[in-house]
């Protein structure tokens, strides 16, 4: 994927928690980037790359003591699968909690988000079924779909009318070669697309699926906890009733500062998954401290810890995202993504600009993530910013200053900039 010349832009090790500011370990190479060795020097950088939407990444005053208590009680692992001896009282509590948070009747939790998609799709779909997935879906969905043995068709990214066209054509045609009718059809979309920052056009897609009797599968890896008035994801944000989505999937890595994934659906679906899903029967159960972190962070978000930190965090991330995006756009950058989405890709287009942007930002102590082929098309390279609720206004201003300077240097201000003066605290602040 990345040639040796800019290998140092990826895989940068850190030596502290991935909070708003973190320590990036400096690496050096004696053989033109073929091997990179760690040095003992670290530089304190502003973190614009980690998925830390609500700021739970580092030790948290409510969550961490409880996590350590759980660690002492249950140990870091159960060394067993859920169906053997790996189900503790904590796991059952977690599943009930997640189901109520997501507003579905039941939920099942797995130890890793990637495995959730790869092991669920083969259970639900098999030969004779059709999977219609968005063209920019994540690799775990693609792998799960391939592993299921069903036929896969793709519809143009986020265009409900094309989805309708594909559905009509496929139902009328039937299975390839035999033309027998399909057994079942499922449409897979994501809440927020991680490389585009866009929200899914969920109401329209659900309407199309209902009309043609297709099942829907929503992957909320990036949107759960980060959008919506109470953090319940795109369904809340776009006003879609959760009963209309058949299967809701999400991960706990991004907004909850933990690990693992969940599937929420009706009682029958979850019962069936518990009966036969390989990840449940053969995979080690989720680590108890990680489970406790999820429960505690959801409690904070809902305000059940007795404070209003959750509501503050949700408001902060919305405010931060919208402020940052509008400022970048005013400066003349091409920024993708919808309002309220904490993921904002800045287009670089030219792959040669990737190492320049990345290294220059690092020199000014701002750590950004640059994405190249094959995660994005070859000529659509981008730098992806992930905003967090733990970024303060000063952090964002510093980031804007540095990005503006580097943007000028590298030449990525593709749009005309708006006039420069911005007002903050009643004083005019100029970016140059």
């Amino acid at each position: 994927m990345c040639p040796y010349t800019f290998k140092d832009c990826f895989g940068r090790p850190i030596s502290s928690a991935p909070d708003a500011w973190f320590d990036v370990v400096e690496r050096y190479s004696n053989d033109n980037n073929k091997t990179l060795k760690r040095s003992t020097k670290v530089s304190r950088c502003l973190n614009l790359g980690s998925y830390n939407y609500l700021g739970f990444a580092a030790a948290d005053e409510y969550c961490t003591p409880r996590v350590i208590e759980t660690l002492k009680k249950y140990s870091p692992s159960t060394c067993s699968t859920r169906v053997d001896g790996g189900t503790t009282a904590l796991h059952n509590e977690l599943e009930k909690f997640v189901a109520s948070f997501v507003r579905k009747p039941a939920a099942i939790v797995f130890g890793m988000g990637y495995v959730t998609n790869s092991a669920i799709l083969p259970v639900l779909m098999g030969k004779g079924c059709l999977i219609i997935s968005d063209s920019l879906n994540h690799n775990s969905i693609v792998n799960g779909a391939r592993g299921s043995g069903a036929v896969i068709r793709v519809f143009q990214h986020n265009i409900p009318s094309h989805l309708e066209e594909v559905l009509r054509e496929q139902i009328a045609d039937g299975q390839p070669r035999t033309h027998r009718p399909w057994k079942k059809i499922i449409v897979i979309v994501e809440g927020i697309y991680s490389m585009e920052g866009e929200l899914c056009k969920l109401p329209e897609i659900i309407a199309v699926c209902k009309k043609y009797k297709a099942y829907t599968y929503l992957d909320e890896a990036h949107s759960i906890g980060a959008v919506g008035k109470t953090g319940r994801g795109v369904c809340e944000l776009l006003g879609v009733d959760t009963a209309d989505v058949d299967i809701m999937m999400g991960t706990f890595t991004k907004s909850f500062g933990s690990c693992g994934g969940y599937i929420a659906g009706s009682e029958e679906v979850i019962k069936y998954l518990k009966y036969t899903c390989p990840a449940h029967l053969y995979g080690t159960s989720i680590s108890p401290p990680a489970a406790q972190q999820i429960i505690s962070s959801i409690r904070v978000i809902l305000g059940e810890d007795g404070s209003n930190r959750g509501a503050q965090k949700l408001a902060k991330i919305r405010e931060n995202s919208n402020f940052f995006r509008s400022e970048l756009q005013k400066m003349g950058f091409e920024v993708l993504g919808d309002n309220d989405s904490p993921v904002m890709p800045i287009m670089l287009y030219n792959p040669a600009k990737i190492p320049a942007f990345s290294r220059e930002c690092l020199k000014h102590n701002v750590a950004v993530v640059t994405v190249a082929f094959p995660a994005t098309p070859l000529l659509l390279a981008r730098a992806r910013i992930c905003i967090s609720a733990s970024h303060s206004r000063e952090d964002l201003m510093k980031a804007l200053q540095v990005i503006s300077k580097v943007g000028d240097l590298v030449g990525i201000k593709y749009f005309p900039a708006e006039p420069l003066k911005q007002y903050q605290d009643g004083k005019a602040v100029k970016y140059d």
Partner: protein, 482 residues
């Protein structure tokens, strides 16, 4: 009247022939007289050629109209998303404390044989201390994939440590043990390559084989003769075999049966037929071998002979995640092409530090290994005398696998019977053993059984209690069944 018609016909024919004969009456080509009949023959030939060149009638193609598509869409009825279950799914017992050698279920203390906690490290003070320190420093999650600031120094330290422990150049850490094999296999084996795998491999490996789109040939479970025949078959029948990549995939200790793979014989076959070997050491790492380095140490095979070794850290190391180890090129390749590594958030740092502490404890306390080996042999001896149940696992395997001596004929009924035994053993004697549940997607056809995971933390009285209880309950259950 007839005469007149005949006359008329004769006259017409004579006139036509005369007309045709006239221009070529005296023509001669190559000594042959050209007669008028030739023109008729040529004309007929032209007519025949014309007819042959006509396309046969095809009904015109009519694409479906919108109305017809609407009708088809209205008519179509999908199947329900999930098939209806005929029985209530199994509800596992809920633990109320850590899954150590003794645990609490329903307020009662039970002896726990269901956790693969081979070295008894669950609840070890050093492990808990290092985890607490890591949690305070790094928080819980790593918040990013390895390529995007999810690489924390503990990950790199652990990779170096495990490589040093096993004596390999490098290793790579995966966030989930399950995903290690099913990401590693497709990273190396592609469409057209040949993989020879044991028929008893677990689901993660089966899924990896399926995703790789290679040609997979299964050989009889742990049967070296069958392996040799399969390899011979492949290499002799396939002429292009030298140009394809060839792999043998085996597990060190099979999760589905407790058998141990004879690694030295496999290596001999590998050298002879020129295959590469992928070994899954999830249940042998930290168990087999003088210092716990796994099957390679146990069989006396140098680890360089194996191309790719993977292991799940959720067993002996009492952590979570998985690692893969091998040569530098093998590992570097996975850092870019293994989907479970590149596209997934990395392992939480506290689990990596737990695993590192576990290796430290193993190196400092080799008596854990001898205790485990002792426990295994004691349990094996005790359990070999149960009427109606037969041990089908190896004498030195940490998973003791008991299956029915006489199967009922259907896997479901076997499972029900064994489940009854396990349930009664738990309720009456507070011994927690588990039955092997199989997913509907699992292709493995090995018989189901009761599994006991032996730990170094079990005392001899625990082992005797388990074997006594199993003897009693299975006699009752199987006796009444027969």
């Amino acid at each position: 009247m007839a005469e007149a018609v005949m006359n008329f016909l004769n006259n017409t024919l004579g006139w036509v022939t005369g007309a045709l004969d006239m221009p070529s009456a005296r023509a001669q080509v190559f000594g042959f007289q050209i007669g008028g009949h030739l023109f008729i023959e040529v004309f007929l030939l032209v007519v025949i050629l014309f007819l042959l060149s006509q396309k046969s009638y095809k009904p015109p193609k009519r694409p479906l109209t919108n109305k017809e598509i609407d009708e088809l869409c209205d008519e179509w009825v999908p199947e329900p998303l999930i098939p209806s279950l005929n029985e209530e799914p199994y509800e596992p017992p809920v633990l109320e404390s850590a899954a150590g050698p003794h645990t609490v279920i329903d307020g009662k203390e039970v002896v726990n044989f269901s956790s693969a906690n081979y070295l008894g490290l669950i609840g070890h003070k050093k492990l808990l201390d290092s985890c607490s320190a890591a949690l305070d420093k790094y928080g819980v999650g790593s918040c990013g994939p390895r390529g995007f600031y999810g690489t924390i120094d503990v990950h790199l330290d652990f990779e170096a440590r495990i490589a040093k422990f096993l004596g390999t150049p490098d290793s790579i850490l995966y966030p989930f043990g399950f995903s290690t094999m099913f990401s590693a296999i497709p990273a190396f084996s592609k469409k057209g390559d040949i993989i020879v795998a044991d028929e008893g491999v677990h689901w993660a490996i089966q899924n990896g084989l399926y995703l790789s789109r290679s040609t997979v040939v299964y050989f009889k479970h742990n049967d070296m003769k069958s392996l040799r025949e399969t390899l011979e078959n492949i290499t002799s029948k396939n002429k292009r075999v030298d140009k394809l990549r060839r792999y043998i995939v085996v597990e060190a200790v099979y999760q589905n049966s407790g058998q141990i793979a004879p690694l030295d014989e496999i290596i001999k076959l590998k050298e002879k037929y020129k295959f590469r070997v992928l070994l899954d050491e999830s249940n042998s790492f930290g168990v087999l071998g003088k210092s716990g380095r796994g099957l390679t140490e146990y069989s006396g095979v140098p680890i360089e002979e194996l191309d790719i070794v993977t292991a799940d850290m959720g067993h002996a190391l009492a952590a979570e995640g998985g690692f893969c180890t091998g040569s530098t090129r093998v590992i570097d390749h996975q850092r870019l092409s293994s989907s479970g590594y590149v596209f997934s958030a990395s392992l939480p740092p506290y689990l990596a530090s737990a695993a590192m502490t576990a290796i430290d404890i193993l190196e400092e306390n080799p008596e854990l290994l001898s205790k485990l080996k002792n426990n295994i042999s004691v349990l094996w001896k005790e359990l070999s005398k149960i009427p109606g149940l037969k041990i089908s696992s190896n004498k030195e395997s940490p998973i003791v696998y008991l299956r029915l001596e006489k199967s009922t004929g259907s896997q479901k009924d076997d499972l029900r019977l064994l489940q009854k035994i396990a349930q009664r053993v738990l309720e009456e004697d507070s011994v927690f053993v588990v039955v092997s549940h199989r997913s509907t997607l699992d292709k493995c056809r090995l018989p189901v059984g009761i599994r006991l995971f032996v730990s170094a933390g079990h005392s001899e009285s625990d082992l005797r209690r388990a074997s006594g209880s199993l003897k009693k309950v299975s006699a009752q259950v199987l006796g009444s069944h027969n």
